[in-house]
Amino acid sequence: MTREQVRKRILELVQAATGVTLNETDVVAGGRLDDFLGLDSITSVEIVVRLEKEFSIRLPPESMTMDQIGDLEWLTDFVDQEVRNR
């Protein structure tokens, strides 16, 4: 799976969790999911749980902040790295 594929899949999962239709141009590089979608506390948990299930990974507890989870590029890098290390 390439980094771009990971990013695309993450956006699909975010879309499923929030119910908001997203396309690639909506969240530009460096864009924040929380700013764009107005993520609330529970939706962010749902995104984490969906991500972990989809990619069979575990996000470290210290990264569970809106600053990290709302950062699409950080999420993509983290998941991409975890998938590659498997």
Binding site: S41, I42, V45, E46, V49, P61, T65, I69
Partner: protein, 313 residues
Amino acid sequence: MESINQKVYRIGMRVILSIKDVVWLVYLYPLKWVVRVMPCRLVLTLGRRLAPLLLPLTRGHRRRIEERARAVADKLPPECPPEWIAREFVRKAAVRALEDLLITRLIRKGLDRVRISGREHLDKALADGTGVMVVGAHCFANRLAKRYLASQGYDILSVRNRNQKDPAAGRLGRRWLKPRYIAFLGQAIGEEVHPRDRDCGLRILAKLREGGLVHIYLDGAFSREVRKLEFLGKRVKFPVGFLDIVRLTRVPVLPMMCIGDSRDLGICFLPPAELAEAPDREAFIEANVPLLASRLESIILSHPDEWELWVKM
């Protein structure tokens, strides 16, 4: 028609220093300094002896507690009539206020007597490594019990509302004393998160992932989303946000009841709540909020003198 709270709030908005502000001021400064140099046992003994002096001053408050308790008089244990519950409320509130001032010393020194029942439920739930959602009512002994559990190695995160309305506070209290009182309680409680914090859900998840405990007040309607239910003879709001996390993570939900005080503390863990399965979020919430509310009601009715929301809820 204007409610008592609205009336008190209207008056509080006008006055610079209300009676509640004076109570906060005395509590947070001179009283806190004095008890710092006094032996814990002496402070608490004096508190217990002097608490009856508060009864005449809290007549209105007690009358409201009695009225609320009378609505469920048929469900109360015969040894707990409404008048007794109201008197105990004042006594326990006074003792708890002193224990809050002494809590760190009390825990460090070791409590005289602690009885934990149902610990096997807690240890079994924790053994799975998923963390545990501990749910309960607002009881006077909660803060002490949580600090005690933390001292015993049970890492616990409390979900606590820091933006409570205080209709009796004056302008000085609202602006200056209340934030200090809330910060003081935060220190007494230990690790906590506010339900309206943007990181609240994630912090709860992180604590559960670390295999810790997350304590939720089922009778604290400060969640973003609530459901109204019949509860102790009145229609009241219940939080549902935590059930989203339970549904997503499948963590065990363990009811807890804390009774007594620093002389004799009781912590009771009940078997995990058997939550109903449901095809979607709405159905899950609709099925399980009444189930947990009814569990909470029976917990409170087993020790009605320990519940501190007779007036507020």
